[in-house]
Every structure is written in C-alpha cells, then in structure tokens.
Symmetry: C2
Subunit: 456 residues, 2 copies
Amino acid sequence: MNENKIPYKIYLEENEMPKQWYNVRADMKNKPAPLLNPGTKKPLAPEELKPIFCDELIAQELNNDDAYIDIPTEIQDFYKMYRPSPLVRAYCLEKKLQTPAKIYYKFEGNNTSGSHKLNSAIAQAYYAKKQGLKGVTTETGAGQWGTALSMACSYFDMDCQVYMVKVSYEQKPFRREVMRTYGASVTPSPSNTTEVGKEILRQHPGTTGSLGCAISEAVEAATKQEGYRYVLGSVLNQVLLHQSIIGLETKAALDKYGIKPDMIIGCAGGGSNLGGLISPFMGEKLRGEADYQIIAVEPASCPSLTRGVFAYDFCDTGMVCPLAKMYTLGSGFIPSANHAGGLRYHGMSPIVSQLYHDGLMEARSVEQTAVFEAAETFARVEGILPAPESSHAIRVAIDEALKCKETGEEKTIVFGLTGTGYFDMVAYEKYNNGEMTDYIPTDADLKAAVATLPTV
Amino acid sequence: MNENKIPYKIYLEENEMPKQWYNVRADMKNKPAPLLNPGTKKPLAPEELKPIFCDELIAQELNNDDAYIDIPTEIQDFYKMYRPSPLVRAYCLEKKLQTPAKIYYKFEGNNTSGSHKLNSAIAQAYYAKKQGLKGVTTETGAGQWGTALSMACSYFDMDCQVYMVKVSYEQKPFRREVMRTYGASVTPSPSNTTEVGKEILRQHPGTTGSLGCAISEAVEAATKQEGYRYVLGSVLNQVLLHQSIIGLETKAALDKYGIKPDMIIGCAGGGSNLGGLISPFMGEKLRGEADYQIIAVEPASCPSLTRGVFAYDFCDTGMVCPLAKMYTLGSGFIPSANHAGGLRYHGMSPIVSQLYHDGLMEARSVEQTAVFEAAETFARVEGILPAPESSHAIRVAIDEALKCKETGEEKTIVFGLTGTGYFDMVAYEKYNNGEMTDYIPTDADLKAAVATLPTV
C-alpha cells in the first residue's frame, strides 16, 4: 500500500516547531473591519476593551501590522505536551476511494480537549496569568472550548468559570465532568448568578439556553469580579492568530517532503480552525508567491458564508458584546432542532469573512447526513472517529478526491481534522439508527433572522 | 523547564518501528503451564482449540520456543495508522512533584479504541481474515476491547459480533455506538441468542450480566456459526505476544537516547498491557543481560496477584473455556459494587503469573480513591485524562517518584499509560463529587470465591 516514500504520519521534530505565530492580517490588503462599540457604533479603543479582555490579547486583537508574533516560551513548552500534531497521509482513504488524489489531514484531536481549541486556550490563559489576574470566564456549548480552557487554567493554576448552555449541561454530563476534573466551575446557563441570566429566565422561564446567552453571562461575570477577564474560543482575530500554529506546522511538514498542495479544506463555524489552518498558505497567496484553492465548509443548516450577509452584527444574543463586521445570519439565528453537526454559530470570523468577500477563498455548504456518511467512511478506514464538525471538511475532501477519480487528476488535497467525536455519540447513534434528517433553512427563515441586524 | 536534551515526546521513525513481535516465553526457564481441557483436565491439543480459535493464533498461543515472530506487512501497515505511540517524558509531572526522578510514560491512548487493545485486535482480525473466515465473536465490558475489535474488523471488512455486558450496554451507550459506527453488531449479554445465555436468564431473570458470562456466550456463538471464531483481548499468550509491540517501541525509544530505566510499572487486569510493556525488559532480565525493578499494579478490590492463589482455574463463569494456571481469585469472584476503576478480571495472564511466581517481578495493590487522586494530578499537569485502569500505574509511579524526592535518588521510572478516560466520566463524576469509596475484600470474601476452583 505504501508505494510512496511519504510516511503515514509526518511529525515535526521538537526543534522544528514554530516559535512565532503568523498574523495573516499583516498581508491582507483589505484589513478586517474594526470592532464597534455597540452603543456609539464607533471603533472600539483599546481602553474600552480592557474591562473585558486581557491587555496583551487586546493588543493582538488590534494588531493588523506585525506578520509574526513570538510565542512565549511557557506556551511553547505547553505546546510540546501535545504538539506537534501529526500531518497524516490518508493512504487507506485514498485506497478505499480508488482515487489518484493524494490526501493529507492535519489531526488536532490527540489531546484531552479533543480539538484544536487548546492552541488558543493556553495562550489566553497564559496572558491572563501574566497580567496577574485571578481567573477567566467563558461560555461553552458542547464543551470542547470549555474543556480546553479548563486544561489551560489548571496548568497555570488559575480559576476558570464556565457558563455551559443548560441543555448541554444536562444532556452531555461527560464534558462537564472533564472540566470539573480540571478544577473548573461549571454553571448551567442561563443562571441566577448574573443579571442578564436572571432577565432571560424571567422572560423565558423554561429556556434550555443558547451559546449567545451564555456569552452574555460570561462577559457580565468577568466584568463584575475583581481580577477576572472574559475569553472566547473562536471568531476573534487573536484566536486565529494563535491557531496559525496549525497552518504553520502543516506547511513545515509539507515543505519537509517537498509537497505543494493544490487545495486546502477546512470546516468553518466561527472560523478558528479554518483561519489557523489556511493562514500561512493565504499569506503566500496574498503576497503573490503561490496559489491555492481554499475551501471553507459549513453546514447547510447554518450557512453564514454561503447564504448570510456581510454586515456588522452582534457577537452574542444578549447584545452586550462589540459589533463585528462579518458574514452573519443574524444574532437571533438558531439552526433547526434536528441539526446535530456543530458549527452552529450565527457569524464568522471577520478575517475569514473579509478574505471570502475579497474572493480569495471559496465556501461550500453540506447537509448533515452526507457529513455523517463521510465520517463513517473515514472512521472505518483511517481508524479515527472524527468530530461532526471536522467531518464537514472530510465530506468535501472525499467529494474532491472522487472528482479526481473521474478526471484522473493527481491533486494534492489537505484538510483540517479538527477533533474527535467521542463526546458526540448521540448524533452518531441517530445516524446509525437511520433517524438523522436534513433541513435547509428557507429564504424566509434567513430573511427573518437578518431582520435583527443593527443599523451602523 | 526543559533543561535536558530529551524531548517531551519521543517518536520512533516509521522505519524504526518493530517488524517482529517478541515472545518472552522463549526466554522463560519455567514456561507458563499449558491450557487444560475443562472436561479431561489434560493439556489441550491444537485440534481441540480449532473450533474456537484461528489456526495461526493457536500456533502462537502454544509457541513457547520462538523468541521473535514476524509481524505481517498488513498489520505493520495498520500499525502505521496510529503507531508508533509516543514515549513521553513527564517533565510537568516531575516539576509538580518536585522529584529528582525522571518519569517516562508510554501512551497508548491516541487511537479511537482509546487503549492498547487495538494492537492485538488487528492481529487477531488479520489471521481470521487470512484463514478465510467470515467473522469473529467476542465479549466486552466497558467496551475498549469491543471497540478495538470493531475497528480491526471494519478495516479487513469482516463481520464482528460483540456480546456486551448488559449493564454496560444500557449505561454506557457511547462505546456501543462507536462499535456500531464501525459496523459491529452489539448484543446485550446475557441474551436469548445463545443456549448459555438463555440458561443464565432462566436461572437469574433480572441479571445485568458479567464479563465471564459474556465470554461464554461469545464462545458458543463462534462455535455454532460456520466460518466464525472467538477472539479474546487479554490473558492469552498470543495477546501478550502482540502487545510486545508496546515494550519493543518503548525500549527502542529509550535506547535512542541512551536511557536505561530503573523501574517499569504497569497496571494489570488480565495482564495484556503489562505483559506487552515489560516483555523485552523481562527478556534481558531472564537472559541475565540487565536488571530492572518491574511492578504490576492492581486494584485492592480485585487483587489477583497480591491475594489470589496460583492454580488452574476457569477463564469464564460459564466454565466452557479451557483451564489456565494463573493467579486467580476464583472465576466466581466479583469486585464489590462500588468498584469503578476497571481491571476487574478474576485471573491473570499465565505468563505474568509465572514470572511473578518465579520472583521476577513485584505486585502492589492500590485503592481506587488514591488512584483517582493520582489521575487528577496527572491530568492537570500532563494534559491527558487517563483511563482509571492506567491510573493504577500512575499512582505507583507518583509514589515511587515521591520516595525519590525523600531519598534524593534520580531514578528513571517508566510506566504504561494504557488509555484515555473519555468514556469513564461516570467514575470521575463520582470522584469529583466526593462520593467515591474504597472496599478491600475480607479474607472471608476471598476464601469463599476460591472455593469454586476446579480440582486438577
């Protein structure tokens, strides 16, 4: 099977690991639009962000100029515990598909958070610690981000307060317990511990919560406690900066074997993995040094890039967060109840949004039964049970590899395998039982949701 | 933190991976006692095993002479999907403990089965396929072995029938769904699909099942279907042979950096991981080439080595399997209801039993609250949430490292981290809530259990 000299897994040596993050904004001609104050609608000054975010993270958030930012030694040391992550040649998938395409995937799931989220969590915890803070607050849905942040905070011996969407808190107790094992306190949201939570409970007594509402609670909790700040696992520029470690390692591993990809594919919810994976390749493209086909894959049931509008919107449903210019479905958009595949955020990273708007990348939407079909195919031959989120990228990678089979092209396809699906077995069970269905929002659904957009 | 030149993770290159398994029996002066026919009490001839096991696996089971056995290329290829596994230098744990000891662990959890079980599952599935069989049957408790076998069978496109202890089937649906995703059929045991299952249900209508009972059902299912054989994930000599890949890789990684361990520690249930990990080191010890302190760690609530008897016993509760000479608590022994930490098999691998009996290794038993305390400490600094089973080894590794702190000795400690605890969160929750208790069986408990031993 291994007729080729490329090993199944390419690992960088420890001394080959990146020592700087890459900031793609430095090479973007059209920078992402600035965050706005939701009250004044004016660009936010750093001082206005200080009650919410750590100082150094604000600097990173607003830094559109420096192409490379040093990774502090302490973070490099933590990265060495679970990185470099392998770049895997999918020999068995290629054989199964009988495709002439060469498929590689960058696997970020070999750590207890189960995903790439840890790459930014450790950075955010580190800067909070360095600033002398006591702890951080955040929200989590299914729990990948909350788990990652709990791990990072426990490493630096900091307090970690997680607001977990109530329905997940109750129905997915396992990730909750992982967070608790790492010493985090986990509160089901909405809760009575914040004013915004109380108000939501008053208005909607039986609500099972939402991510946007948990964000609002976490932000309030951070601003009301001395020595606390709020941290976020996706969407923000700083997060994409930290996640550039994924793309930098991928590129270094490919360069080591002289491989030039034709196509780079990533799943996109808030855009943290996709943005991190594509960053150094996009940089080459922006500088005119190379060209790549870059594809973002999103759920057909939550199609922010393919069917959303490019406009300023709220990042949370409580409407307390800054406004961001992004592809959005409206902050009130909620995917239909049958949606099981993750990537349910209403908006998209401003960086990814701008790159997409400028025609530098493509986007595709896929339906969830097709996603789980791809997940099963992949799991059976590659031995990794993928997260539903990651499986969106697998779906398009398989589709592209099958096109190559028809045309005979030997394209080199790289995709991001963001994580494992060990905590998503309820969705797999639904698929295994043939009970999974698809739902594509109607134009009327989408029109109603964008009616909530703020006027800027 | 990294004052030393040893990297955090030592990975072998693909071409450094072992191409042969090591059979420690070849170097044992006292060979493990032969399996006996439960009826005649005579050593089993290969022909008698043929209805149950694949031919080539029988040959491996009975092979006490060949020190090295080639790993078929197909299995080597599969190993390359998830191996070599990293040998990790536990820098962060050392720092946390402030110990002069140097701690390494061989981590086998980075695959979807979540443990080392896949190393033997793929071998057993391969030989079954090679023999032209349609499929295999097996039992599983919490589901690690069943998951591993499902993955292996799906890779070779074989049928896989798993009898899963009913209480786990109902209470731990997630591993069941992983198995189904890999195409296995999973039946709660005891079931009405076998005679032995029907009989057990008749006698104990409300029973929630046991591992021994699931073994009996799986063996019956294998023998009654054309083209099927039974496979087992631990205890047997063949399994330890396949698991020697763990020890061989560990030794190769240590040799690469000129490291000679003082102490090798492994958790022990049926003995598959421990036996595999220690094999090449034990080989050196048996041949008088080196000396190592080797420690098996078992639960105080299921203490087969430390408090069992060395005698012939049944491998299953249905008493249909061959008799094996081993340290055993009696095939009717069931750990107390509060036992959460795995490693609940009543017996121990005949190879490990013989080595222990001959004074070539030590055994220690540890209580589960102390095990989970070690698990939490480890998780928080090393970033991996360990399986409760693996955490037995962590407990003793930490204890030994703390002894070094007292004495100032710079011992090199290697332990086996067999897997991850993602599917064990119910036990972690109990620990997190302070609801976990210990139970050490009384002498009377143990005396009652060994009363079921067969007379040989």
